[in-house]
Structure formats: structure tokens, C-alpha cells
Symmetry: D2
Subunit: 453 residues, 4 copies
């Protein structure tokens, strides 16, 4: 099979980051199984899409059911689930933010990001955006332009709408060497300075107009390493943006749907974004359905009329049916409580790990069930990418002896220095499974860094 793959498949996606790639056959709950039946406890849950657990029965059933009724429809016609899903999200946001808005669907996170760019360009007549260093918004050309890594642009020619990237408040490694206790959000002040005079390049004081249309944010950086910003940061930032008539676009593709303890991660920070982009967990990973919500003023039928954007699979019936069921689950089940509690338990366990392995773990942090563990050298600060890679590779081997059974641990590596384990367990993970993962971490530490345990 690997030989066939090697001959016919492009290597351009992420399969070959690891060589040879891992073949997976089945999954359930928090586990994936290889063809030999070995179980791997998954902490990333498929790039953060399967928050509600692999093989979630209720959602899978919704999908089965929709196949048997209306498995597809040209998006020029209407089906009930689309309407109900849009309404569910609209009402939820109205209750949370006190503002009305509208929902537009698409397929794939990048395309939703592209739709948000169209919305911003349409509203402002401008094409330049702010975005965060460490931010990730997708891999279409437009989304790559606002994603920080130059690596994603390097071989693809000129990006005329490359964002201006602003340091994210990554306090463990504050770019200005400040301490969170005493910094008084120095970082936001540094951003605000950009508008002091026209010579700072962003602001025409005579016209009272900014050159940049919107600021794309992830409330908690995903690929950037699950970095949690300090309290007050976003409030202060939004005030500056409002004053300069710069929109805030909140990319919740990774963190939305309770990953960070609230329906939207941004809710943790007391600001109302102008546009929200979402995807991934919207269908628990069962369908590429994605979407945007925008404040009404930006997306009225007059301003953003029929035909403003479109895609064949945009409001597809299978995806909307699953998403609608998922929205119902969130109305019935208190996921805020679940994610806060399980997240707190998991955070406590990794903080304990940090205390016990100070020569391996430099930082732990988390919000809801988005947790980070930064692998550092013995000084507890210098990033140790090599060790991080080793732990990842050993974890995925599937040969950890866990209570008499061979198991593996599936991890995801992120962060600016690629030395952060970003932990995004399924919401139905049990405390026992959390404990199990901690056990496996310890085994991996011992195996990979025997001299630092």
C-alpha cells in the first residue's frame, strides 16, 4: 500500500511529514487503531475537528439519516437543515453578543476565510489586513497571505495582499521581555503606537483613515501553540481597532465549539468580533462544512447580495444535517461545564508533570480543553524541538507497555519553535484516559530523555 502511495500520490499534503506514513484503519472515542488493532490514544483529535469524539453515535446517525433522505442539493435551492442551522448560530450569537447577524456557509476552513476576506474588502474597499505572528488561517492563496509562515508563500510568487503581522501576546516568551504581572499590556500599547502619526505608516491623520481593513485573530492561537493571551488583551485591542474603524475577524476554525471552554473561544475575552469564521468541529469532522457569521451591517442582502460568493458544496445537506444535530447537542448538554472541568483536571495533571519534570517541560497552560505543554531544555526555557520530535515519534510507534497492553499516544506538535504539544482531547475523554495519557507521557520522557527525568 505504501509503495502504491509512493508512486501515485503527491507528497504535498502533510502525510509525508513523517516517513513512512502511518496507516490507520478504525477509530472510536479517543482512540485510533492501526491495521494490527493496536490502540492509540489521540490527543489532537484530527486537527481539532473531532472534538465530540470519534464515532460519535448521535452525529454519525444524523449523517446516515440524511444520506437516506436528501444527501445533496444544488445550493440555489433551500433545505430545512440549512435554515435551521443558520438560525441556531444566529440566535446563539445574538444571545451571547447582543447583536444580530447572518450566517453564510462554505466548504473547508480556507474557503470560509476567503469569504470573510470578500466581506471585509466589500465593506472597506481595502485589501490589506493585520494578522498575528503565529496565526494560521488556511492555505488557499488568499488565506496564505494572512497566515504568518513565509514557508507557505515562498515558492508561490508575489502575494500583493500579504498581511502585516503583529506579535501575539505569547507571555511565556514575551517579545519585549516583559512579565505578565507588571507589563500592563505593553504589547497592545506597542500596537496602538502604529497609529500615532502618519509616519508610522498605517494611518492618514488628515483623513482619519487606516490603510488596513481588518485584524484577523485567533483568540487562542492554534497552530501557534495553544497560546492563551493575558486577560484584558483583546478588550484593549478591540477598542483600538474600533477607534480606527478596523474590523476584527475572529477565526474560530480551531477553537470554536467549546474547545476553549466556551462556545466561541473569543467569549473568554469579553469582546464582540465583527466577523466569526468557523469550521472543523462544526460537523465533528464528518463534513467539510464551514461558515462565517457577520454583524448584520456588514452582510445585509443589499451589501452582500445574491451571488457575492458561492461554492457547490457550500451549504451541503449532509454537513448541515450533522451540524444541526451538533447544535442541538450543545443546547441539551452543558459542554461549557464539561470542557471547563475536564480541562481543569487535565491542566492540573500536566502542571503536576511540569513540577516533576522541570528539565523537560518549560511551560504548561490551557483554557477549556485546549492545553499546551512546552518541551524545553534543562533550563526550562530554551525550546527543545529535538526532544519534542522524539517523544512524538516514540508515541506513535504503538509499543508503550500500558498496564500490560501495547499502546500508542498520538500527539500534535505546534508552536513557534515546534516544541509544543498542543493537546485537544475529545470532550468525552474520561479522567482515566487523561491519567493514561499522563502515564504514557512519563514513559516517553524516560525513554527519550533518561538523563533529564
Amino acid at each position: 500500500m505504501l509503495e502504491i502511495e509512493r508512486k501515485h500520490a503527491s507528497f504535498s499534503d502533510t502525510v509525508h511529514y513523517r516517513d513512512p506514513p502511518k496507516l490507520v484503519s478504525r477509530h472510536e472515542g479517543s482512540y485510533v487503531y492501526d491495521k494490527d488493532g493496536t490502540a492509540y490514544l489521540g490527543l489532537p483529535m484530527r486537527y481539532w475537528a473531532a472534538s465530540f469524539g470519534y464515532g460519535n453515535e448521535r452525529l454519525n446517525n444524523a449523517l446516515h439519516h440524511q444520506i437516506d433522505t436528501l444527501p445533496q442539493l444544488a445550493c440555489q435551492y433551500l433545505h430545512v437543515e440549512k435554515v435551521q442551522l443558520a438560525a441556531a448560530i444566529g440566535r446563539l450569537n445574538e444571545s451571547k453578543f447582543g447583536v444580530t447577524g447572518r450566517v453564510h456557509f462554505n466548504v473547508g476552513g480556507s474557503q470560509a476565510v476567503e469569504d470573510s476576506l470578500k466581506l471585509v474588502r466589500n465593506e472597506t474597499g481595502k485589501t490589506l489586513m493585520f494578522a498575528f505572528m503565529g496565526g494560521y488561517h488556511g492555505r488557499t492563496l488568499g488565506a496564505s497571505a494572512i497566515t504568518s509562515s513565509y514557508r507557505y508563500r515562498r515558492r508561490y510568487g508575489h502575494f500583493g495582499d500579504r498581511a502585516h503581522f503583529v506579535p501575539f501576546p505569547y507571555c511565556f516568551r514575551c517579545p519585549w521581555g516583559k512579565k505578565r504581572e507588571s507589563c500592563e499590556l505593553y504589547c497592545v500599547d506597542q500596537f496602538a503606537k502604529n497609529f500615532d502619526t502618519e509616519y508610522n505608516s498605517f494611518w492618514d491623520a488628515k483623513a482619519g483613515e487606516a490603510e488596513f481593513a481588518a485584524f484577523y485573530v485567533e483568540a487562542i492561537q492554534g497552530t501557534g501553540g495553544y497560546v492563551v493571551p493575558p486577560p484584558g488583551y483583546f478588550e484593549k485591542l478591540k477598542a483600538i481597532l474600533d477607534e480606527r474603524k478596523i474590523l476584527m475577524v475572529d477565526d474560530e476554525i480551531q477553537m470554536g465549539f467549546y474547545r476553549a471552554g466556551k462556545f466561541w473561544a473569543i467569549e473568554n475575552f469579553n469582546v464582540t468580533p465583527d466577523i466569526i469564521v468557523f469550521g472543523k468541529a462544526l460537523t465533528n469532522g464528518l463534513n467539510g462544512l464551514s461558515g462565517i457569521w457577520a454583524r448584520d451591517e456588514l452582510i445585509t442582502p443589499e451589501k452582500f447580495p445574491p451571488g457575492s460568493t458561492h461554492s457547490t458544496f457550500s451549504s451541503n445537506t449532509l454537513g448541515t444535517a450533522v451540524a444541526l444535530e451538533l447544535m442541538r447537542m450543545t443546547e441539551e448538554i452543558d459542554y461549557e461545564k464539561i470542557t471547563r472541568e475536564k480541562g481543569a483536571y487535565f491542566l492540573e495533571r500536566i502542571r503536576d508533570l511540569q513540577r516533576r519534570y522541570p528539565k523537560i517541560i518549560g511551560d504548561t497552560d490551557g483554557m477549556g480543553m485546549a492545553l499546551r505543554m512546552e518541551i524545553c531544555q534543562a533550563d526550562g526555557f530554551t525550546p527543545d524541538k529535538d526532544l519534542c520530535d522524539a517523544i512524538f515519534a516514540e508515541g506513535i510507534k504503538g509499543d508503550l507497555d500500558v498496564r500490560g497492553k501495547k499502546m500508542g499516544l498520538v500527539l500534535d506538535v505546534g508552536g513557534y519553535y515546534k516544541n509544543v504539544f498542543t493537546l485537544a482531547p475529545a470532550f468525552d475523554i474520561t479522567n482515566e484516559e487523561i491519567d493514561l495519557s499522563i502515564e504514557m507521557f512519563e514513559m516517553l520522557f524516560k525513554r527519550c530523555a533518561p538523563d533529564r527525568v
Copy 2:
């Protein structure tokens, strides 16, 4: 339901092209049903995605089955269906074109187009493309730049990589007033002239280098109105492009998978494209899975290495499972024969219609099961968009009295003047159903243009 929609849904997709939108509840074979159970015979088959029929049992079952085994997987791991699907397409192209290549998957046609743009930019170091007037390649910012309609760019600011659009060989309305019988492919010669001297703006004769990287083509234009190019056109075009080292990217999103009587529409024209983009019918519309195939030289692991592009839902397990089953069907069933024969029958029937309604139909044409019927004024040439719209609107009312039953006819309008019915019936449509559609066309002609029948 429509009221809720009106409040919470963005109008920006195509639902509100018709107001109020049509609510659909169920579909099967070639029919969709509204909530009252009225049947509508569908000729477009969901923007050309459901070529293999609504509710195709074999494909739906493949989807059901995959949900119960491995409904998703992070695309950094591998699953069998992905490999087999890539291999099936790779082998098929090798057999057809005699060149080896590789397949990369994504989700949504636009994202596959964006991937192809990355591939082209990576190979050539250039960012400018040729594309056809009347061509459609998607609605992300990058895809909009190579899609002809300015309407899709107008409110979205500057497009620094806007394509140079070349007239498509639309012989019924030849831009140069030539006749197909005697033109000797004047249109290709006009394109070739662009490289005569450096003053034509495209060619640096001293360096022997073109300013443009690739030519994006649809072998048969989709949205442009199912325009079939004259024999020899693409062969001659490809020779010019090869001479100038300009790649040809063949967008088969609408026409691929036998719509035009061959697996790829381009096969009808004896050229081997450098890159093929596909989607839609790949899963019979059940999943947003899309992809590109490229000649090996362009997409070697060295040139287009891991991480070159990526998306969460790219090679998703549900989509690849359905697509793999579909590929198996194409190996077992002679769709070439089916589409050629049924297409021929349908074409004959609409040609007969044209003979009988010369004051309504100006042109009919078709290749495989991609057929066109151009609605014109009494002179048989001047486009009659109003009549076309009226026929569309009456057809979708669902009140045609067909052999004692109320029925509707779902049509799709395309073409430069929005006066073309683009007919893309399901491959399992019966001759009786074709006859039925002809009957309904006649009813609609009589209802909408009583003085011209």
C-alpha cells in the same frame, strides 16, 4: 421557514437568485421533490455534481459503510481508500495519456484550483495566467482572478493576478464573424499572434520567455453555456503553448467523469494537459472531495514537497471511499457508451425541437451528456434572456400537467447572454424521461411564447 431564512441567512450564495427560494425535501434518480411531493425532473443534476443519479444506491452505501468504519482521519495519516483512489486516477491517466503523474486531494473545486495555481507558480515562478472568456474556475480570490466575470471581482478590490482572458471558440457566435467550415481555426491564429513580437506584450523574444505561466481551460465551457469547441482547436492551441513553455491546466470540475462522453472531456480533443483539476461528480456530489492530477515532472516530492499545501478535509475518508467506489463503477460499467448513446438520443430530440421551434431555439449542440439549447428571438440568433428566464421560472413552478400529473422541470441557465439551457441529465436517465423533458419543453414554449410556436 422562509421567514427564518430571511432573517438569519446571508443572501450571498445563489439561493436568492430566485425569490422566494424553492424548498426541496427529497430526491431520487433524476427527480427532486418539494414538500408537497411534487416531482421535478432535473436536467442540471445539482450543478453537474450528481451525474450518477440522485440517491445512487451503490455510492450511498459506500458512504454509509465508511461512516461505520473510519469516518475521518487527520490527513497526516494514511488510509487505504486515499491510496487506492490516487492510484486509480493515476493509472487511468497513464493509460489515457501515456504519462505518469500524481494526485493531490483537497475539498471544494476552488481549493483544487488554488492548489493547481500553487503548482503552476511553483514550477514557473510566474503568477499570470491565460484563461477563457466565459470560463469559470471558482470563487475564492485566486480562482475569481482566473474566472472571466468581472462581477465576481468588482466589489473585492484589486486582483493583482487577474488573468488575461482569451475568446473561447464559441462558433455559433464567432467573435470574428467566421464560419466553422471555412475559418481554419482563425481563433487559434489570433491567439498565436500574441507571441509575434515583444510589442504584443506577452513574449520576450530576446529571452525566449512568456510573461504568462499557464492557460486555464475547460475543454467544454460549463457556466459559459456548454460550448463545444471545433475539432482541432485544442491540438493547435496546445502546440502553441508547448512552444512557448506555457502549461495547460484542464479544469474538469464540471465536465470530468463522463459528462462529455469520455472520462475527461479533454480526451475528446486529443491533447494531454499538464494538470487536471477535478471535483463535483468525483463523489457524485456526496462529498466536497476534489483534486488535481499533474504530470510527474511538475509534482515530484522534491518540487512539491510535504507541506506544499494542505487542508483538514483534503483527503477525507468519506469522500475518498465514495470516490473509490465510483472509480470502480467506471471500471465495471461502460459509461463511455452510455453517455455517448443517451447523449446522442437527447441531442437528436432537442435538434428536432429546434427544427420545430426555430423562432425559439437558435442553437443546439452537445457532446456526451453535456447538451445546450440556446433560446433566441424569432430571428434564431438574437439572445432572448427574458424568454429563457420565463421558461426556467415556469418550469420550476411544478404545475405542468404531464400525463395527468402535476410536474416540474428543473433547468439551469448559462451562457454569455444567460439564454442557454445547459442540460446535464443523470447518466441513468431513461429515454422515456428524455421524452418527458421534451414534452415539458414544448408545454413551456407554448406557455411562455405562444406567438412564436
Copy 3:
């Protein structure tokens, strides 16, 4: 001297098109002299800048005088000559076109073109332009984007505002193979077709808006080979542009100031451009002064306020003093008569040459004192660049035996195929000098193509 040059000077300007370069010491009237005192009759007159003759006493004196009074001034202050010059041009255009306008100065033709681009962008909010194949507007990045030759862009990365280049009505080599007598301006119709439907890529019919802001034209192409468009062409083109709200920018840098028999070349064609760009002959080549004139509505102090553009040498006192004197000369002397008469005489002489050397000259044409002679192969049509180059090279050798004296002939080669001598003699050339040039042409023909005379 040449050795020093070879070591310290960049080769990037046009000096090294010919190697070794020619050293010039002095010039006067229509002649330049090398260090040995050999005279060369100049037909191009320094890239068309010195129309009023080398060493024009009156203009040189104006320059001498200004040096002794106010040789410079920061352009934030005002000097009399600037005001009078602006007024002279403004009044002239009012009398010619019946519309009021304003004048803005800069230095170098390209910078004036850049200013015109700013004016167009400011007015329309759009960044895309039409321009002609064969058109030349300068070599800054912005001007290169609307200049047809890809050679001027090739090594300089992405040009996001590359113009869409339209074939110029070059009737001797009509791109569509039409004959001027019977074509009925087919070429303009071909341009007009671009706005037929949104699928032609330039026009949003729903919004009634074009994607392109302006059309940059040279009324007679300069570098393109002194191609004179057919009567009616520009009138018809302007009507189409007006209908689509696309501005016409008339680049008179090469043809302005009577080169084509009228003050502005465009006056020959009965249209009023929205913007005129000028330079070169404005100071008879004594100063880089350039400028734009625009219809009042485009350039009101409100729309194009102080600080909209600027350059240190923009309205420099030396340049404006010379230009003002030149404007006075044009008021006192009937240059229209002079250029029409001398041009007619010269054209008659080269037409006679063509009759006598049909195997060398394929086409001759001219308007005012802008004349062309196209060197072709024996068939009278196939461009013969080699012969053209040979004639040029022999002419500049300075060894023609003319009535007992060694002389040279300075020619300029232009045209799409680099086979056109573009003749732009000084306005004070005598008929005897014209005859002399004809004699030298004959000698050169005999020397370079003995078998075709």
C-alpha cells in the same frame, strides 16, 4: 574614455545597445559632431526631444537668462514662469478642446505618467488600465506596467497592475488581415465586443461598471514605429470609452508640440482626451520638465489637493523658463504650417524612394514631421530587421561620401519588428537637408543591399 566607461558605468541604459558606443562632442541645427568633427545628419533628434533644433538660440538664451536670475526654487514657493506656462497650456487646450483644465508639472516623462496614473486611480478607485500593443509610456515600475514590452518587466517580478494590451490599428500589418478601404474600423468593433457580456471579463452588466479605469493611448505610436491610425479610429474608440466611463489618457510625450503637424497629435483625430501627458520637446530637450493636463473635474483642488504628488524638480525654474519661451515661439510662429509642409515634402521624397526601392522599403507613411519607412525583404512585406540594422550601423559610421565630404546619418529604429526607421527631423530642417538624407539613404541601400537596389 571608453575604457573608463566600461569600468565605472552601468550598462543598463541604452548606450550599449551599440558596442562600442559613439562619443558625441557637439551639435547644431540638425547635426551632431563627433570628436573628429565629422557631421552626422540627425533624423531622430534625441529621442524626439529636440524638435526645435539643436542649439536653438532663443531657447538656449532663455535658459542662460534664467540661470542668472532664479535658477531654482523649492516647489512649495511660486515663480512667475510656472504660472505663465500653466496658463499658456491651459488656455491653448481650452481653445482647442473647449474644456477647461489644470496643469501639473513633474520631471521626466515617466513621472508625469505616474502622476496621470495617480489621477486616474484617484478618480476611479480602480487600478487596471487598457493600453496599446506597441505602446510605450516609460520605465518606472508603474509606467512599465502599461508599456507593452514584456522585456521591460521580465526580470522585475510581479506587476499587479499590468495593463490589458489592445492591438493598435497598424493597418499595414492589420492583425485581422483586413484592408483599410473596406474594414469599416473592424478593430474598434473588436474592442467594443469586450463589453458585450460579463463573460468577456471587463464589464459588470448588473452594476454597469467596467473593471478598467482608463485607456492609455499614443495618438501616433512612437516607439511602436510611427504608426498612423486610420481616420475615425479614435473618435469611435472614445465613444465606446465614454459610454463605459473609461477615461482616455493621451500620452503626447513623443508626439506633442507639433511633431505630428498639430500642437497635440490627438488633434488630428477629433477627440478630446481626459488627460494629456507631455514632456520631451516641451523644453526642446534642455530640461527634464514634464507635465500633465487634465479636465477640470478630475483635478479640482478638492479632488487632487495639495500634496497629492510632488517632486523636487517638478516645476523647476530653468525648465519652466525654457518651456514658456517655447510656448511663446509657438504663438508667434506657425509651426502647424511648417510641419505640415516640410513633412509633406519629406513624405513625398520617401514615397519616391519606396517606389524606386520596392525590394527594400515595404511601407512609408507620416503625419506632420513624424515619418516612417519600413524596411522589408524583397517581397515588400516580410520585415527585414537585419537590413535595417545594417543601414543604421553603416549610417552612424560617418564615412558616407556626400558631395566630397565624409558624413554620417543618425537614424532611429523602431516598430514591432524593429525594422522601421522612425524619422523625426528638426522643424528647421531645410529641403536641401531632406534631400541630403535621401541621398544618404540611397548610398546606404546600395552599400547594404546591393542585390536589391
Copy 4:
């Protein structure tokens, strides 16, 4: 005259920054005279172009002489002065920096900047640049893209090659609140951090390649307010750029030719730029001649061949003759000594002023004869633009009673907050004239801020 101006002249240059504009008739040495003969002592010397004094006899004579010999020449031919001037600059740079290079000429500073952009793009294949906040490089579209003020871009659509602007080390108002004594060049470290990881957006660590091609610097900011960077800054910056293979382009248009006490301002800072751009004072403001010098590797005839760039007035004979004479003057006269000494005297005098008027002057600084005086509120720090404007306006009135005569003081206002007098006196200003200017400053302070003197 003003009425005529108001009717025919565009207001778009800087004349109307002050309304009504000042009419100037004559100038000499450091003085300009209005039509009534009132003298104004000029401290800016025509946007820094006339460093060698108004009406400099030697240079004016060189200009007169050239008019009478060869006042112009098509730049495809060669004249002696061009060669000698290129050689003079080339040799000077070789002696100063120990590297060989080549010189290319153009006209107007912006066009030289555009040429440098072409050179950078040609070398690197990249289009994005770093530049300084507060930096000014011209007003063509390309130059505006790397000039910090958004005001210069706002109404002109998309700038796809907008620079990334980096804070200049403006220590009096350190963006990070550091003190020069203890900062250890924190600012350079902040810049260096941009290359720490790929997530900082500028660096692809895997490929070892930066997204940005060059850093455009003014060694001392001109328009930005004559800000002198701290010792060591540029050395440290250059090291970082070299390490990342990012070129340094040194814009000496304002500061070159001894303004800052050395031939090139950058010489004060011990770094060798890769490209130098120059203009303005090159001809003492008598001609728009400008140019670039580049390290040989960047500008070999192979890499930057004939035709790479061009402009009619590029190496014009009048400009090169004056510039050559000016180069001779700099070889004969010790301008380094002159500018250092007079600059020191002037700086001492304004520092004394600052001591005596601490409630008006917040900062004084200078290098060579580029001096700054920052007008602040009584706290000595808050910028006081209003007072600065008032002093400027009163100075230019021409009614100061100076030793029994009515006089005026011409000032130039710059700086981020438009509260800095940027003083650029003529090199032949006398100490008495310096004293005179100080006297006038005091009168103006008393007149404009009686309560703060």
C-alpha cells in the same frame, strides 16, 4: 499672478500647503528675495538640493558652458562628462568602501529609487522591501510603496508591494521607552527577532530564505525630522541583513554630498551599503540628474544588461556637466571640514537656544550641517505643532526687524509630529548668518510664544 495660478495650475504639488503661496523672484547665497526685494535667510536650501549655495558661480558657469557646447544628447550616445562623472563617483566609493561598483543615472530622485527597486528585484527575484517608519523615498507609485506615510497612498488604490515599515531609532522618542545610554540597541534586537522562527512571518527556516529583498534606509532621516541614529545601530543592522541575505539600499538623496558631514551620510556609521541612491545636491539643484551606485556583483553588464532601464533625460549633458564640476569642487575643497565645523558651530548655537528656551525647544541634534530643533510644549517633550507652524508662518512673512532691516526666515518643518525645524544651511553660510538666524529665531519665539520665553 496668483489668480492665474488659481485658475490654471493644479494644486496637487506643495505650493498650496501655504495659502496664498509665496512668489519668489531671485536668490543668492543663503538668501531668497521676493518681488519687493525683501531678503529671506533660507535654512532649508530648496528641499536640501542647493547645499552649495544659491547662485554658486562655479556651478552656474559649468551649466552656461555646457549649454553652449552640447546641451543635450540622446542617451544611446556617449558624452565625456557622463563617463567622467560615473568614474568620479565610482572611484570615490572604491576609496571609501573598498568595493568596486557601477553608476547608473536617471532624472529625479524617485526614478533613481525606481531603478534601485529594479536592481533589487532583478537580483533577488523578490518584490517586498523593508523600510523605515518616517522614511521618505519619493512619490512615484513604486517609491510611495516604500515611503512610510499612508497619506501618499490612500487615494491611489492597492499597493501590492507596500513595504514593511520598521521603527527608526528615534531616541528622543524611543518607541520602546528606552534610554540611549542603557538600551544596548534594543531596537535592532527587536528587528532581529523577526527572523527567530517562521511564525514571525519573514523567514523560511527550512529554506534559509527571507521573504524581503532589501532594507531601504536613510542614514539620517530627512523628512522624518533629521533624526540621527545612535552609534552602532547601522553596523548591527547590516550584520543581521547580511546574515539573512537582505540587501541594504542607502537613500542619500537628501543627505548625500556632505550634508551630514561626510560625502555620504552613511559613512558616519561604518557600513557599506549594497546600493546608494543619490540626487538633489548632485547638481546643487540645477538639474534633475539623479543616480544609483551599486556593488559590482549586482550591476554587472550580464545581470543588468543594456535596456534594463532608461529615461530620455537620464544622463543628460547639462546635469552631468554641473555634477562633474561639483565633484571636482569636492576634490579640491575640504567640505568635510567645512560642514563639520560650521555644523558644530550651528549646533552649539541651537543647543544654547534650547537651554535658554526650554519651554519651546524639546530637542536639538545634528550631524554635519543637518540639524534639528524640535518645538515642544512647556514640558519640553509634548510635540507642539501649532507653535512650530506659527513660527514658520511668521518667519516667512518677511517683517522681522533685523538690525534695522526687514527680513524673513525660511524654515522647513518635518518630523513625525510636524514639529521639527530641519535646518540644512548652505555650506557657505557664514557664522554671522548663523548668528542672524539665531536672532531671528529668538524674535519669532517671542512673537509666537510670549508666555514661554
